[in-house]
Every structure is written in C-alpha cells, then in structure tokens.
Amino acid sequence: MDKPDSSLKLNQIKVGRSATITRVLGSGSLRQRILDMGLTKGTTVTIRKMAPLGDPLEVTVRGYELSLRKAEAACICVR
C-alpha cells in the first residue's frame, strides 16, 4: 500500500495554515505512533511553527501540541 502518492503532504503546508488528513502512509511502529497520537483520517492539523533550526515541526492536533520531523510529516497526506 506504499504506492507512490502525488497528493499534498503535511510538510508542504505553510506555518500557520491548517489541513485535513486524508491518509497516513508508512508502516510499522512509526505509522502506529502517528495514528495513536490522533493523526487519523479526517483530523484537522494546524502547523504552529518550526524549530529554530528549521526541523522538526510543531503542530496542533486534537487540542494539543505535537512535534514531528518533516520526514515524518511527509508520510501524512492532507488536503
């Protein structure tokens, strides 16, 4: 199910904007962790800020702050 996907990814969203998750790519523990933290299909995510060195990102999801790296955000398809 890891077929190449051309849709928009979370890491392409600008700081301060919001997006809705359509799908979480990847596999195993990383994917399960992302899902467990509440980044499931249909959830709205707001990009809060970038760390001082440009990576990781801070996002607001389900009312709390979460940090994830750009590479991990690239596993999350949004619209």
């Binding site: 799908r23 994917r31 467990d36 990781p56 801070e58 940090s67 994830l68």
Partner: protein, 899 residues
C-alpha cells in the same frame, strides 16, 4: 479486603504526582523485570491493604516502545483489580483514546479527571457527570497539584469495585468481524479480539495457518468495506467514538492563546529560543557548579571533612584532644544530616511540599560564604531562618498526620522514618521519638571524640587516610549534585525539557541521535550515573543504546579535578579545559557517526513524534522526591563502591605481597615494594605506545596505577598521583597536618549549627563547661579558602613535574585517555543495568577503551612527531589509524537500507 490498583495514563497527565499524593512517602522504586523502565509501587495512605502500582505513561497499548510493552503485559497478565485512569482534562480526546483501550481489557476503570482547575482557568466547562454517563464508568474530578477531589477518589478506591464499563463501539463492519473472531477463536477479552483483527504479532503468534487465513479473510473484508487499512480504521474509529460524545461533555470557550502557548512562542522562538536555551544552561551551571552548589561542596571539603571530622577522629581513635568546637560542629552536622530526610518525608506525608526545608541549610552556606557580612545583618538573617525552620519543626511535631499501624496485621517490615530509607512514614509520636533518638545519637557520636583510643597506627591510617578521606572526597560532591538534580527536576517537570529536545533534534539527528539524547548528555556533565539513567526517556532502543555508550565520554563532575590537575601541570589553564570538553563532545559526535554506520546500529531511522506538554509550575513534592532519589543513588554509590574501593587501594599500596605493613607508604622504598607497584608494573607495557614511560621508564607503572584507581572514581586519579608523586617538601603544607592546624579553624559563630533541627543537640552541649568557656579563634581565613582547590592541584602538579613523568603531549594523552576510557565502576554498573544485556555492556566498555586508547595514541604519536620533528614507526602507524578513522567517518552508510 486487599486489592491491587494500577495507576495508568498518558505521559505528562499528572499521574506520578497523583501517585505521590495518594501514597504519601510510602513508596518503593525499582525496575520492571527485563526492561529499563522504572517501576514504582506503594500503598494507599491510611489503607495499607490497598497496593498501588504506578504504570509508565503511554499513549496506546500497541507493543512498540518498552513502556507500552510493560503496561500492556502488566494489565493483561497481572490483571489488577482496578485501573485508575488519570485523564488530563485539558487534553480529553487523546487521553480518552487510551481509556478506550483500557476498557477493552475488561478490567474495571475509574477515571481521575486531573487538571480540572486548568480547564476552568481556560474558561471551558467540563461536565464530569455527563462524561461518566457517556463512558459508563465512575469519573472523579481531581487536581493533584491543588489537592482537590482526593478524598472522593480515595473513597472510590476503598469502596466496592465498580463493574467493568461497556467498551466503546466500533463501526458495524468491525463489530461483525470481532463477533466472528470471538466465536471461532475465543480470545477471552475484546482487547484480544481486536489485537487478532489488527494482526498484532504477539497475539497471532500462537495460531496455526488455518486460523491466520481466517483472520486475514476477516481483516480483508473490513478493509474492503471501509476502504482503508485495519490500523487506520481501528485508531480512527476509536477517536470517532470519543468525538461523538465530546460536544455533550465539553463546552469550549472562545479560543484564545493560552499562557503556555504565548510562553512557548518566546521560548522556542526561531532567534530567541537558542539564546534562552544557552542562558538556561548557563544559569544551571552557574547555580550548581559556580555558586550555591560549590559553596556547599567547599564547605563539606574544607570545613566538614577537614577540621570537624578530622578533629573528632583525632580525638576518637588518635590521642589528640579534640577541640570542643569541632565536636559541637560534628554533632550539629550529624543531627542535620540525619533529621533532614526524616523531616522532609514527614512534611510530604502531611501533604506539604517541604521545599522550604532547604532554607535550613542556608546558614551553613552563609557561614562559609559570607563571613564578612555586618554582624547585625548576619544576626537578622540567621534569626529569620531560625524562626522559619522552628515553625516547620513545630508543624512536624504537632500535626497528628499518618500512622503506620496496620490493622490487617501485615507489617511494613521496616521502622518508619528511618533516615537511611526514603520510603518510611510515621505519625506524630513516631516522629517525636525519631527526632529525639537522632538528636541523642548525634550528641553521643560526638562524645566519642573524648575517648582518645590511641589505636594502632595501622588502624588509624586505614580509617583516616583510607576510608574517611575516600568517602569524604566523594560525599563532598553531594551538595553540587543536589543543587543540579533539583534544577534538572524542575526543568523536567515544568515541560521545558521536551522543548530542549524539540530545539536540539536537528543537530542530534545529523549525528544519528535524537533530540532526547541531549538531556542525558547534559546531565552527564554533572555525573555519568544519572546521565545514563536519563537515557530512559529515549524510546528507540538503538538510540538509547548509542546514547548510553557515548554519555560517559562527556567530562563529568568527578573528572573536573583531573582536568584541574592537568591545567596546573601544563600551565595553560583555559586551553586544557577547552581541549578536555572539546575532546568529550567531539568523541560523542564522531563516535555516534562511526557507530551508526556499523552493523550494530544498522537500519537507522527513529521516529520523533513527541508531545510538547503545556508548561506548568511543577509541585515541590515531586521535585524534592526526584532529587532525593537521585542523591540517594549517588550516596549509595559513594557509601558502598567508593568505600570498598578506597580501602582496597589503600590496602594495595600499604601492604606487600607477604602482608607486611608499610609504615610510611609515601616513602620511596615502600612504594616500590607495595602490591600496587607490581600491578602497575604488569600493565605498564600496554601503555608504552602512549608514551607514559617515555621520560623515566622505571616509573612507567605509576600512570598505569593511577588509571586503575580512576576506575573506582575518576577523582581518585588525582589523589593517587598525589601519593605516587609526592610534592617536594619545601612547598608542602595545607594538606597533611590538619591535626596540627586546628587553631586556625574557621569555626567561629555559633549561629549556623544552631537551627531548629539541631537545637536539642546544641542545648545538650551547653552542659559541657569546656564548650561554654570556648572562645572562638579570630577569623583569619578569607582569601586563602578560595584558592584551596587550586593549591592542591598545583601541589600535585609540582610533584609530577619534579618527578619528570610526562612530556606535554604524553600528559595530554594521559588525561584524554582517562577522560574517555571506561567510566568509574558505578557508571559501569549503571550501563550494565540500563543496557540490560551482558553482551551490550561488553560492547560498550570495549568501544570506550578502544576509542580512548586510539585517541591517546594519536595525540601522543602525532604530537610527538610534530613536536620533535622525528617521524618514527609509531607516528606512521598513528597516521594510518587517523586515515582509517577518517574513512569510517565519511564513508557512506553501508546499512542504510537494512531494516
């Protein structure tokens, strides 16, 4: 009826604080079997039959991180009677996701809805009764920080166990599949059925091919019907089930930025963030290493273990009459040391934070640091402190509080409030008894100073030089440690540590570690042992192992004396210290890069999906407790390992193989006939390539011996070198003759030792006419004190220089080898414990030795070649090694794509 209750919930939901509040001081801390996760248990206050188990904080019960595995196995295999699910009310959805998983286990759940005060402060309203109705289980609003709702919670815990709540519903297709699975495979609980449907490897391990095919079929049916994959469906529908009732339960006020968010904007700001971070780090080191901690350490070294203990010991086993002032100080300090932890626990048990207790120590610091305060100001400050801690003592003595009596006949198996244990607890009567007993003990112990046993010189030397000096040198670090631990606990509890990981992640990922590795490395600057312990916060096993291997290369507090010694020896202060720190940090970076590219750490990607908890003001109790736990671990290490080790080194250096006692171990001929000499002699050739015996080959064993003693504790290197290279006599002075110099003691004011805790002891002393008549000698110290440590380093350095043991490069190599090679035995023990595997411990220790040897080899051989301009075989070998190392660093990772 006795029952076992598990406290579980997300990380940062206030679980541990609630656990502390429910159990008071009655806890035990250990490790879960087989993993590195901390295990904390205790008994409910006033209900000794109810056992509480604090489970590690998790977000889910999936079997990925060690915390999740521990929680999952505990719940599924140990089957507690009840789960208290601590739920952070400010973060309802994600917390209830875990609640949903708990409900599926079939164990009754009580929800402790924590942080309700923060919800109210935000202007939101949360209807806990509606939540209870929606979930079908009791919901009790509490605030662990403000101690509201706790009696209700305790009542619910003591009362009958509620029925298990009905689990949250899944979509019809999933429910249908679960029904089929339950019918055919009988998994027992709904949780197990869901695991089977999810194709959880642990759950499906015992199945045959036929059953697996059946599960695959069910799973595919669900996936096709809902057009998603099973993990996503399960996680999504759990959240959906929660979202369905959230609007009835929670009414959000108009969104405005919380204080935490505004704070975060500043603290992790693109430009300001790093500056603030640097400032925070500087402040921590300024307070713990620069000022307060060092005042305490200086006091312990120069006053306590100098004239005070020295004077008492001289009077006890020697025949020098102990000066009365030294005895008074001795009993006052002993009373303070014994009563302090007892009182702190008593205050915690009474539900008070006890942080103000630290003010009771202030007089000791003030006496040492501010001898020049105007008499009036001094008096006012001291009186204020005295009144304050008298008030605390009054609370402990009068408030009735808890009792340890146990109506179910089980004994707790230990005397309550025992100062040697952190876990005791006791009622008012017990506290009064302990207080009097400890005061009497301190008074009595000091009286031993009048005995004048005049024991055999062998025994006197063993106790004075071997044991007291060794333990004292290490206990001297305790004030610094305590301050450092208090500050770090504060940073951890208030939520800043997570931001540190957030900000530093980019840097650390570049070398193959995660941002969380920064915390262990920073803690390791204080002491490697807690640094290694701090790696627990790293979830990924590979990252954790790598961090453990590299953490102790950072120069820790015990290595500072070594660095100070070589600064004095090489005469270029700043440079040596800078080289030492850069070598440590550089080794961590290069070591990480090299190790990442080996097969051991193949397959390198580590997720960094981490919650950034809201900032909050932490509770004094939990900071105290954490700091005390860490200090206790440090003291245990000092008390056992160092104690035995300093006695062993003393034994090796004072006896020959035929067990003849060497009267004057410092004399040339006795040094050469000691056992230590032969041990060093055997090892010396190993270090020849490092140039340790270059200038005087017949003394090549001395550095080897110093290195061995460094394994016991790194600061021993300095004391061993001091013994092996005695200072030329003309310059000697301060160290040896503590007994003769008692007239110049800085023991003057009677104020500091007379605080409320030591009052009974001080009163008892007033019956002694010698004490009443004692006139304090005029204060003559002042400037001299400041330079004491430097003076010691300079003294040893003078001895080494006089012996001509090292060239500049070989001295540098010697220092680097000792800083980078395997840490002290205590840290090795910690590595063993955290790695939880003999093989990995071996790999780690071997790597450190090889690395240190290589670096020292390169420094000596190349340095020597450049310095002297002579390129020998060694220099070419070193150059070849350097090239190999360079290749290991820059080569592409051959295991990049290995999973």
């Amino acid at each position: 009826m006795s029952k076992i209750i598990a406290i579980a919930g997300n990380p940062n939901c206030g679980k541990t604080l609630l656990f502390n509040e429910l159990t008071g001081a009655n806890q035990y801390v250990g490790n879960w079997p087989g993993v590195t996760v901390e295990k904390k248990g205790g008994r409910l206050r006033d209900h000794e039959d109810i056992e509480l188990q604090d489970l590690p904080g998790v977000y889910s019960l999936s079997p990925y991180s060690p915390e999740e595995v521990v929680t999952r196995h505990y719940l599924l295999e140990q089957k507690p009677d009840l789960i208290i699910n601590v739920v952070d009310a400010t973060n309802l959805e994600r917390n209830l996701y875990l609640t949903g998983q708990f409900m599926e286990t079939g164990i009754p759940v009580i929800i402790a809805l924590n942080m309700m005060d923060l919800v109210a402060a935000r202007g939101d309203t949360l209807d806990s009764e509606a939540l209870a109705r929606a979930l079908g289980c009791p919901v009790i609003p509490v605030s662990a920080l403000k101690r509201t709702g706790l009696p209700e919670l305790v009542k619910a815990l003591v009362g009958p166990i509620p029925a298990p709540a009905p689990p949250l519903p899944y979509p019809a297709e999933v429910e249908q599949a679960l029904a089929h699975i339950t019918e055919r495979l009988h998994p027992g609980t709904r949780r197990a059925a869901v695991n089977l449907l999810e194709n959880d490897s642990e759950a499906t391990a015992a199945l045959n091919a036929d059953e697996r095919a059946f599960l695959d079929e069910q799973r595919r049916a669900v996936e096709n019907a809902l057009e998603d994959d099973i993990n996503s469906i399960i996680a999504g529908s759990r959240y959906d089930a929660i979202l369905r009732f959230i609007p009835e339960v929670l009414t959000r006020a108009a969104q405005k930025d919380s204080l935490s968010a505004r704070l975060d904007c500043v603290l992790t700001n693109r430009y300001l963030g790093m500056l603030i971070f640097a400032a925070v780090m500087w402040l921590i080191y300024y307070i713990s290493i620069g000022t307060v901690g060092t005042w305490g350490t200086d006091w312990a070294n120069d006053v306590l273990f100098g004239p005070v203990v020295g004077g008492w010991l001289g009077g006890f086993i020697g025949n020098t009459p102990a000066p009365p002032e030294a005895l008074v100080q001795f009993s006052a300090v002993l009373a303070m040391v014994l009563i302090f932890p007892t009182m702190l626990r008593r205050l915690h048990d009474l539900g008070r934070s006890g942080s103000w207790m630290y003010l009771a120590i202030a007089p000791y610091l003030l006496e040492y640091m501010c001898p020049h305060l105007p008499e009036g100001a001094h008096r006012i400050i001291m009186t204020a402190l005295l009144i304050f801690n008298a008030f605390l003592l009054l609370i402990c003595l009068t408030v009735p509080g808890q009792r340890t009596s146990n109506k179910y006949g089980q004994s707790t198996g230990r005397p309550a409030l025992n100062p040697m244990r952190l876990g005791g607890r006791g009622g008012r009567t017990e506290f009064v008894l302990w207080f009097l007993l400890l005061s009497a003990l301190s008074f009595g112990a000091a009286q031993l100073g009048h005995l004048g046993l005049n024991a055999e010189s062998q025994l006197q030397a063993l106790i004075g030089d071997g044991i007291v000096a060794g333990v004292g040198a290490v206990l001297g670090f305790l004030p610094q440690m305590a301050v450092l631990f208090l500050l770090l606990s504060f940073l951890e509890d208030c939520g800043y540590m997570a931001r540190v990981a957030f900000m530093m992640d980019r840097i650390f990922r570049a070398i193959g570690l995660s941002g969380k590795s920064f915390i262990p490395l920073m803690v390791a600057m204080g002491c490697g042992v807690p640094g290694i312990m701090a790696t627990r916060t790293i979830e990924n096993e590979r990252d954790r192992r790598l961090s453990i291997m590299l953490t102790t290369m950072i120069p820790c507090g015990a290595k500072l004396p070594v660095i100070a010694l070589f600064s004095a020896l090489l005469g270029q202060d700043a440079n040596v210290a800078t080289i030492a720190y850069f070598a440590g940090i550089g080794s961590v970076i290069l070591g990480a890069v090299i190790l990442r590219k080996t097969r051991l750490f193949a397959g390198g990607y580590t997720p960094f999906v981490m919650e950034l908890p809201a900032y909050h003001l932490p509770s004094g109790t939990s900071i105290n407790r954490r700091a005390m736990d860490r200090c206790q671990a440090f003291v245990k290490k000092a008390g056992t390992i160092i104690f035995a080790a300093s006695a062993l080194v003393w034994f090796l250096s004072h006896y020959t193989w035929t067990m003849d006692y060497l009267e004057d171990a410092e004399a040339e001929e006795s040094v050469n006939s000691s056992m230590l000499h032969d041990v060093g002699q055997v090892l010396a050739p190993v270090f020849t390539p490092l140039g340790w015996g270059e200038l005087c080959p017949e003394q090549a064993w001395k550095p080897a011996v110093a290195t061995i003693s460094g394994l016991i504790a790194k600061e021993n290197i300095v004391s061993t070198l001091a013994v092996l290279y005695p200072e030329p006599q003309a310059e000697s002075g301060s160290e040896e003759g503590a007994a003769e110099e008692e007239e110049a003691l800085p023991l003057s004011s009677t104020w500091p030792k007379c605080n409320a805790f030591t009052a009974p002891v001080m009163a008892a002393w007033q019956f002694n006419p010698a004490v009443r008549a004692y006139k304090a000698p005029a204060e003559e110290e002042g400037e001299e004190e400041e330079e004491d440590e430097d003076a010691e380093a300079r003294g040893v350095a003078a001895g080494i220089r006089a012996a001509g043991a090292f060239t500049t490069v070989s001295a540098l190599g010697f220092m680097l080898f000792n800083l980078l090679c395997i840490p002290c035995f205590a840290a090795c023990g910690a590595i063993r414990r955290e790695m939880n595997s003999a093989r990995w411990t071996g790999i780690a220790l071997l790597f450190m030795c090889a690395w240190a040897y290589l670096i020292a080899f390169l420094v000596y051989q190349l340095g020597h070649a450049l310095y002297a301009g002579v390129w020998g075989v060694g220099a070419y070998v070193a150059a070849a090694f350097a090239l190999v190392m360079l290749w290991l660093i820059v080569r592409p990772n051959p295991y990049k794509n290995v999973r």
